[in-house]
């Protein structure tokens, strides 16, 4: 039997995997690494190093950035220098201790020691100024937006240096949601102009420094962005929803990039879920997408589900499909 790591490589290189890669099994996420918080505890509110207020009101399932006039960090994109100040990235050594211990304990022949970075550059722009201001600024104030993105990219590169020095990761799991369920947020042209150059620098830097696999999370439609994903160095697009035609994407781009997802949270991860419903969707995804360049997975951006048990049920269903489809 191949190790998880070998099996992953066979899958994404079009070789001979001996089973499906089962969701996030090949990634050991080092979540203890110090970082700016973008989430908070239920019922609480925090302000992070960027000045972004994050609130988790009672009765809600998660935290949310606060963007009323009093809380929005970036009030005028043309004056971004006045409002945006990146937090320091040189965390004291003791903040790294736990993360380093975790990384050291991983059997790297079996799994990838994985740095986990979120939010991404696009997300950071809308955390700072709200989604609508952010999206309109790409069109209305492109120069200022370019400057801001360069500044945020520089911050990410500084943080990346810290991660590499402390953890020597061999994979990166990086979030940046680029779309809704049925469309990308930006046109491909806008994406190419603003987002692609930033990620060429960021992912290029990780790859120059020992990171072998880049897994990018965007649980959305994004078929129109795949050529740029390849160009920026993404090996696996995690979160690919079945609103994309995944079998066609595999046919067109397999070998250059792999697709992880295909099991839509909306269809399996809801209050009345059952293991049978999960099985049905896993089976469909595995049958349609096949054994190469595809990793069956819920579209959620981590090894979790909104309703307890759904993630595990999907893992079991995937094992069953491996038994069925691999000899």
């Amino acid at each position: 039997m191949l190790t998880k790591r070998q099996n992953l490589l066979e899958t994404i290189k079009g070789g001979e995997p001996d089973r499906f890669v089962n969701q996030y099994e090949f990634l050991e996420l080092i979540r203890e690494a110090p970082k700016e918080p973008f989430m908070t505890q239920k019922g609480s509110e925090i302000k992070n190093g960027w000045g972004i207020t994050i609130r988790w009101p009672e009765g809600q399932i998660g935290s949310f950035p606060v963007h009323d006039d009093n809380h929005k960090v970036l009030k005028d994109i043309t004056e971004w220098r006045k409002y945006v100040r990146a937090p320091a990235v040189n965390y004291p050594a003791e903040r790294w201790t736990e993360a380093i211990a975790h990384a050291n304990a991983v059997d790297r022949d079996e799994k990838y020691v994985t740095a986990f970075v979120t939010p991404g550059i696009f997300e950071l722009t809308h955390y700072l100024m709200g989604m609508e201001d952010a999206l309109m600024s790409y069109y209305e104030e492109p120069e200022a937006m370019h400057e801001l993105i360069d500044y945020l990219t520089e911050y990410e590169l500084q943080y990346a240096k810290q991660i590499i020095e402390n953890l020597h990761p061999d994979a990166l799991f990086h979030h940046d949601d680029w779309g809704s369920q049925i469309s990308s947020f930006m046109s491909p042209e806008t994406f190419e102009e603003f987002i692609l150059p930033a990620y060429k620098k960021i992912y290029g830097f990780y790859k120059e420094n020992g990171v072998e696999i880049i897994v990018h999370h965007s649980d959305s439609y994004g078929a129109n962005l795949v050529p740029y994903m390849i160009d920026m160095g993404i090996d696996i697009w995690q979160g690919v929803m079945n609103t994309n035609n995944i079998p066609e994407l595999i046919k067109e781009y397999g070998g250059k990039i792999s697709f992880m997802g295909g099991i839509h949270s909306g269809e399996v991860d809801f209050p009345e879920w059952t293991p049978e419903i999960v099985m049905e969707h896993v089976e469909k995804a595995c049958n349609e997408c096949g054994k190469s360049y595809f990793i069956p997975n819920l579209s959620q951006g981590g090894p979790i589900s909104s309703f307890p048990g759904v993630y595990e049920a999907a893992s079991e269903a995937i094992d069953m499909m491996s038994k069925k489809l691999f000899k």
């Binding site: 469309s183 930006m186 806008t190």
Partner: protein
């Protein structure tokens, strides 16, 4: 190009800084306020269709809506008191337990540009609040509920059923990523649209306009 044509192009291409002046010029040239408004509504219809078909994206839609609102500001004083173009009032909000609002805001813009008077209740709106708002406001013809989370699908159902129980004749439209036509039927909503572009035409059908 006539002045009205110019306004149309400026709205469609989202030139919010130039629309107000162009609307004023159209008025000065003798165009009727109602005709200018209708032209802008038609432009937003085009924008909505292009969004539905994937030809344009959220930012283009936002800047077009912003441009239209700049134009409407110029028309408002001229048209004050003249409610002839309104399709009626629509109450809209994101349902309880959910804070996502981008999709809801786009739908508000599209319905507004189609001629509805919009009352936006914001996010995390309890079921009863929709009913209260429908009673408090004049000429309410439609309640629109948005929900983006599978965890709050029951809240969507509750919102629809609470409105229907209190106001049996009220029309309700629902939408949001996890919502489907089947689900909308199941919970007793009058309609569903998959995106903001098609929400306006669907809303008009539902209220029989």
């Amino acid at each position: 190009m006539s002045k009205i044509e110019e306004v149309k192009v400026l709205v469609e291409t989202g030139k919010s800084k130039k629309v107000a002046a162009a609307v004023q010029e159209a008025l000065d040239a003798g165009d009727k306020a109602q005709d200018i408004l209708d032209a802008m509504i038609a432009s937003m219809g085009v924008v909505g269709d292009k969004f539905s078909s994937g030809e344009i994206f959220v930012p283009e839609m936002l800047i077009a809506a912003k441009a239209m609102s700049k134009g409407v500001e110029v028309l408002k004083p001229v048209m004050a008191g003249d409610g002839s173009s309104s399709l009626g009032t629509c109450i809209m909000g994101t349902i309880a337990g959910d804070l996502h609002d981008i999709g809801k805001n786009l739908v508000v813009m599209m319905l507004e540009s189609a001629g509805f008077d919009m009352v936006d209740l914001g996010v995390d709106v309890p079921a009863e609040r929709f009913v209260e708002a429908a009673k408090e406001n004049n000429n309410v013809v439609l309640v629109a509920c948005s929900g983006l989370l599978t965890t709050t699908m029951p809240a969507l159902k509750e919102a629809v059923q609470t409105v229907k129980a209190a106001l049996p004749d009220m029309k309700v439209i629902v939408g949001g990523a996890p919502v489907t036509q089947e689900y909308a039927d199941e919970i007793g909503a009058d309609g569903y649209a998959p995106d903001a572009g098609s929400s306006a035409s669907k809303a008009k059908v539902i209220i029989g306009a």
